[in-house]
């Protein structure tokens, strides 16, 4: 009995530790939004800003944002998800090319693409809301490609074949097999597109589209008041947290109702008819023109023309700064994800543990300037944050932490997915062979979690390199980076002088991009049955 009591106590302690860690994760995720709400509530109705916003521009801006987001989602699913499913389920010449083309837009920040479009094209279409939607759709398409590439590689084609054998027609198979099995990637993809589109300020402002994010910024910057910013941010914070909470609940519920076997074999790829294959390659090539090739050609040309006006002496320092900040951001994210993996129970047994980390996604919904403002307010002179941070407040630490919070979902969600697919039995078996609790998890996670974490961190590194608003707002004195240079030049309509810095950013992103391409191409490769599990997305 003493043994049983001791084990019970162990379980309780472990459970308590997990609960505390889960709550801490959720608290960290909601810290900026919570702080803004806390700052806004006492003055929510002071000055009538909320009523003013709600009765003037808010309804129109919200509608515009929603339409742009929905259009962007259609574009992103067509350009990212469709090719991903075909590449996963069919064999054809050009699969690797389609993969590379799908991932190339990652090399451009949306505001840079917007800048090149406005410089290159003077047709009214390229300054309208449809152009903004297309641009966001193209910018999000690589994420959807990755999500669907992994998901499709994991779903056995036997489900569909079984349904066909039972006499279900194509539409019934779509509704009863494909829609449920793709529900989670669809939800995740949709959340990413909605978050990026609704939270975007730079590209919308560049094209002059009056979105909700632009409205919040305008009121904040025009009033120059943190309280007004906090008050008007409430209209984004509350729906964002609510949407993320619903998505987390829905996704985890769907997963539990449609459990994909952890050891599901990679789809047996069927050959794709040559015309269709060529059609897909052509489609991918066509989509990559506005998303990558045209901006890239322009950027290289401008860099060549303005080569003599480049301050080369600044390049090594800026590269080091950017790489250092992004690496630190990726490492912070990796550390949090690794802790999550080690402390949370694998196998999806705890709903709370599965759902709480989703809350990080709410930071992606917020305009990054608003997120940065929360950090400025939290680290104000005399605040608890300033006391804790001490002289670290004047370093790049705040840039790193805010970026880590914003980009956490890129690594955290794949890690949760990998955790869910790691059988608890593997850990228990490892323990019976004498491995300690940490060692047992390290071994069990080797094939599932680390690749997912690596890819997630590669994405975080790339996003951090492109990130602008938080660096702008939270930069320490004397700090420079390629993103700040790009912004400074593009503000003066000198995209040509920004070109060199765009290329430098791309050089830094090359390695993670190659890593992504390599992993995507290895998914479901011959002789790697079940390799879909090891990629994560």
């Amino acid at each position: 009995m003493p043994g049983w009591a001791s084990r019970r106590a162990d379980i309780s302690a472990a459970g308590l530790a997990r609960l505390v860690f889960t709550l801490a994760l959720g608290g960290c995720a909601l810290l900026p939004a919570g702080y803004l709400l806390w700052a806004a509530l006492p003055v929510l109705f002071d000055g009538g800003w909320l009523a003013h916003f709600a009765s003037t521009t808010l309804p129109h801006q919200a509608r515009t944002s929603l339409w742009v987001a929905l259009e962007a989602a259609v574009v992103a699913f067509a350009v990212g998800a469709l090719p991903a499913v075909v590449v996963s389920r069919f064999d054809f010449r050009g699969r690797r090319l389609v993969t590379v083309l799908a991932l190339l837009p990652l090399l451009f920040a949306p505001y840079v693409t917007a800048g090149t479009w406005t410089v290159m094209f003077s047709w009214a279409f390229f300054e309208g809301r449809h152009a903004l939607a297309i641009q966001h759709g193209l910018a999000c398409s690589p994420y959807l490609f990755i999500i669907f590439r992994v998901a499709a590689a994991r779903i056995p084609s036997a489900f569909s074949e079984l349904a066909a054998a039972l006499g279900l027609g194509p539409w019934q198979r779509l509704l009863r097999v494909h829609v449920p099995t793709y529900a989670v990637p669809v939800a995740a993809g949709l959340m990413i597109v909605l978050a990026q589109t609704i939270g975007d300020y730079a590209a919308a402002e560049r094209l002059g589209i009056d979105t909700l994010s632009v409205g919040v910024h305008n009121l904040w910057l025009a009033s120059q008041s943190s309280s007004v910013a906090a008050v008007v941010s409430v209209v984004m914070i509350v729906p964002a947290v609510f949407a993320v909470a619903v998505a987390a609940w829905a996704a985890t519920s769907i997963i539990s109702q449609n459990p994909i076997p952890p050891a599901a074999a990679a789809a047996c790829r069927k050959p794709l008819a040559r015309p269709l294959a060529w059609g897909l390659v052509g489609f991918s090539l066509l989509c990559s023109l506005p998303a990558f090739w045209i901006p890239e050609v322009l950027t290289v040309r401008w860099a060549w023309i303005k080569w003599d006006r480049t301050r080369f002496a600044a390049i090594p320092g800026d590269m080091l700064n950017a790489a250092g900040t992004s690496l630190c951001t990726a490492l912070v994210v990796a550390a949090v994800c690794a802790l999550t993996a080690l402390l949370l129970r694998s196998g999806g047994r705890s709903r709370l543990a599965e759902r709480a980390p989703w809350l990080f996604l709410s930071n992606y919904f917020l305009p990054s300037l608003v997120l940065a403002l929360a950090f400025v307010m939290m680290s104000a002179d005399g605040s608890l944050g300033a006391q804790w941070l001490g002289s670290w407040r004047d370093s790049r630490l705040l840039v790193v932490v805010s970026e880590a919070l914003r980009f956490m979902p890129f690594a955290m969600l794949p890690v949760l997915d990998a955790l869910r697919r790691t059988p608890q039995a593997t850990i228990e078996v490892a323990r019976t062979f004498g491995a300690g609790p940490v060692r047992a998890r390290m071994v069990a996670f080797a094939g599932h979690l680390w690749p997912a974490l690596l890819l997630g961190c590669a994405l975080v590194f790339m996003e951090s390199l492109k990130e602008l608003d938080m660096s702008l707002m939270l930069q320490p004195f004397g700090y420079t980076s390629p993103a700040l240079k790009i912004y400074a030049f593009s503000r003066n309509q000198n995209m040509d002088r920004a070109a060199v810095w765009v290329l430098i950013t791309q050089v830094l992103m090359l390695l993670p991009l190659l890593l992504l391409c390599w992993r995507m191409n290895r998914l479901g490769a011959p002789g790697r049955a079940g390799s879909g599990q090891s990629a994560g997305a």
Binding site: R129, G208, Q224, A229, Q493, D496
Partner: protein, 351 residues
Amino acid sequence: MADPKSRPTTTLLLAFILAASTSAVAQERVLRVISDRTDQGVVRPVLEAFEARSGVKVEGVFMDQGLVNRLESRPTEADVVITKDAELLDIAAQRGLLDPLKSAKIRAAVPSEFMDPADRYFVDAYRARIIFYSKARVKPSDLSTYEDLASPKWKGRICLRSGSHDYNLALFGQFFASFGEAKAKAVISGIGSNLARAPKGNDREQARAIYEGKCDVALMNTYYHPMMAAEPTQKAWADAVGVYFPSQAGKGTFIMRSAAGVTKATANRDLALALLEFIVSREGQQLIVDRTKQYSVRPDVAVHPLMVRLGAEQGLVDGRFKIDFVPLDLMAGKREEVIRFVNEIRFDAER
């Protein structure tokens, strides 16, 4: 007795220590400047000149947006604040974020109308917000005043950046102060309803839109004309537009003021004042005029030759124009009124 052979070594060592300590002392004196200008913009040359002249290292935060919020949260992290819009510094001063200057040199150099009455900041330079028009489609005789831009003859012919941008908030605020509320609202609404497209982009993009035939007139700051003319990719835009100083027969043209002040940080107050005194010195002002094409606040610093050309067709002499001068203390509260009004009429909405 010391070994004579060791003397050169000792001397070298001492020299090194001295150099290192001197350098360390120099590095200790770091002046911190916060600005809403961009790093590659107009402030950098002035700071570099000050660094070269004083030997002091200047570190900057160039943030473009949210300057007052950051200053409010961290009132002493910077020594000097430089803004493109004096209104922002006035807001900072009202929130108690600036220290009185108490500098005889600054007071002597800057005319009183460009000084804050409470001596917390001063205007270091200014530019006019004027009408840029299509040389091909508009005759200068068609133009007259800001109020005229609200008339139906300009329907669908005006381009403008966002009504919520600092430049337009400052301009519209001056409308309120100079015209009175009712007339100002009518003029702003009229301009809004005459826009050819939704407000977008920066000032230069409005010139580009005129060049591309999307609109015929725009409100822009004076210095963009020579700046565009100097950029090969933008020269065609500059060539396509003429400039017109509105209301010269009436109360005058409105100006945009950039300004500077010192924060409540005390450690480097002497350096902060040294920088500001350099900015208002003849040398500093000449540098600002040469590099930024703004107008100096010092009467003894001439208008840049490229700016003298602007307005010559209107009969302006030496580039000097009549200013409808609205003191900054009269602008108090106008900014909020303008924000609320541009939102009410949905000035930035798609058209």
